[in-house]
Symmetry: C2
Subunit: 306 residues, 2 copies
């Protein structure tokens, strides 16, 4: 069992999908990452910030999942980061209605002293300089640093983003972002270019079309589980990343073969996340359900050659 | 080794992609299906029609691949079906520039007498009444009838199409067509609806995102091989179907487990098809190359669970 540092947002989300809408509910990249990673009973710490308006029950829930929240800073007179979005009918696109950075605007992440030797660092989607600060606080080179980011930072802070990309082992981005970052349409060519920027592993998230991992000249593909109903896609990418990071921290094996398994675990966890609004499904997920879904992934993808 | 009946177009194509453009070259659904199936040395017959302008060398090439062309009708004073299309920069959409039906307008398919007991029938994309006529000429119920069709027939001949769909074991259509046919966005729900129309197996082609097969409550997913360069997508869907049908005709095993393997073979063959213009890559493909690519699919998708 290795230690895992998770940095990312802990937030309020208000979500509207064709199935309904929510008031402010628990959200944020670090929340989804932490909930997914907690399935593996990892020794994980959440590095984030919330305002005085953030319910203590949420923090207690994260602690109950075994997550260290000593570096989840509470700014008493500040307000928690708030995001609101509305999904299209087919759930493939969404409009952001509100982004109130609030306490996130001045977030200065502090890695807990006893996690500065963590083997795995999961950098959730945040300003690249915040992500960089977390890497620089580690007093031992982590075995695996995983970066999640998005097109917003490519548009607004590309130089800073490139500095972070140079320092990570794994990058997870979606297909359009891989194309934007490299100017290459072919994901194979794009992944090769990204490897020259720093990461040894490139994980391309394709939403309902699954995920594709590149390493040297090898590729691995995991489908998304086809579902009868996708209720709310919010947090699916973070859940995928959290499952990936959590499985690797649990096993402490950073070989390509084990990263494949981590991709499958991440995909399986993401398939639960979308079944309910926000974090609801992830908070109530048990190991038996996860085990059964992993078997579904096996039957979905495995074949025997003569 | 089972017999295989293939009905579909044999045509001239003129293609423009970002990589170049061709004059009239060999194309057509039955051509691509036949070339893919011939990789398995099946006893296959092509039922189609061409005009007097169709080069004898093309017919000789198909014969050399072991395909029976006795029911490839040549209308001496007619012209061969001609299609011309231009692909967008990302190859994901194409505009049809010309469709000259020519001899196809009055095509009356004749299944050769010695193929009327074929175990596998592959109905390539054509007017549903032509497809129906082929089914009705069989004097023994085939073990497996596979239907490929497209949105054009859903728009223009839905009643006829539904009659064919009711009589087949396998349908292959793309994701948008599955949605159009059922009015359901979820492919899982759409596939269930299509099963109530007749087919036991529903194969959803997702282009660069692979293929998804549904059978009862089970699913199987095969990715498309990620490629550095897609040169010309023309015929990839037909090649997929031809590989699928050819593998099944060769093995004579119509179990779900064997259909999974057939999907992988179809996907592997389609990945070659797009590497050159038209049929060029398929005409020159050898078994060793196919075997190597099947191993790539294995390493792309297979993982070990503890």
């Amino acid at each position: 069992m290795s230690k895992l540092v998770i940095v990312g947002t802990v937030a309020f989300d208000a979500i509207e999908t064709p199935f309904g809408k929510t008031d402010k509910i628990l959200g944020g990249a670090a929340t989804f990452i932490g909930l997914a990673a907690s399935q593996f009973e990892v020794d994980g710490a959440i590095v984030s910030v919330v305002g005085g308006d953030f319910p203590k029950e949420y923090i207690a829930m994260l602690e109950n999942k075994g997550l260290d929240v000593s570096s989840l800073e509470v700014v008493k007179d500040g307000k928690t980061f708030f995001w609101s979005g509305k999904y299209s009918h087919d759930m493939n696109t969404r409009d952001t209605l509100v982004t109130d950075l609030n306490v996130l605007a001045d977030f200065n992440p502090i890695v807990p002293e006893n996690y500065k030797d963590a083997e795995v660092v999961m950098l959730g989607n945040l300003h690249p300089l915040v992500q960089l600060s977390v890497i620089e606080q580690m007093n031992k080179k982590p075995a695996l640093v995983i970066l999640d980011t998005m097109n917003f930072w490519m548009d607004s802070a590309l130089d800073d983003l490139m500095k972070v990309i140079a320092k990570v082992d794994v990058i997870t981005i979606n297909d359009e972002e891989a194309r934007q970052l490299t100017g290459e349409y072919s994901l194979v060519v794009a992944a090769k270019k990204i490897m020259t920027m720093g990461p040894k592993y490139v994980v391309i998230k394709k939403g309902e079309h699954g995920a594709l991992m590149f390493y040297q000249d090898e590729m691995f593909y995991a489908p998304a589980l086809p579902l009868e109903e996708v209720f709310d896609p919010t947090g699916a990418g973070d859940t995928f990343a959290g499952g990936f990071a959590g499985y690797l921290a649990k096993t402490g094996d950073y070989s390509f073969g084990n990263l494949k398994k981590a991709i499958i675990y991440g995909s399986a966890l993401a398939s639960f996340c979308v079944e309910k609004f926000g974090t609801e499904r992830m908070v109530n997920l048990d190991k038996d359900e996860l085990f059964k879904r992993i078997l579904q992934f096996k039957s979905l993808t495995q074949f025997d050659l003569d």
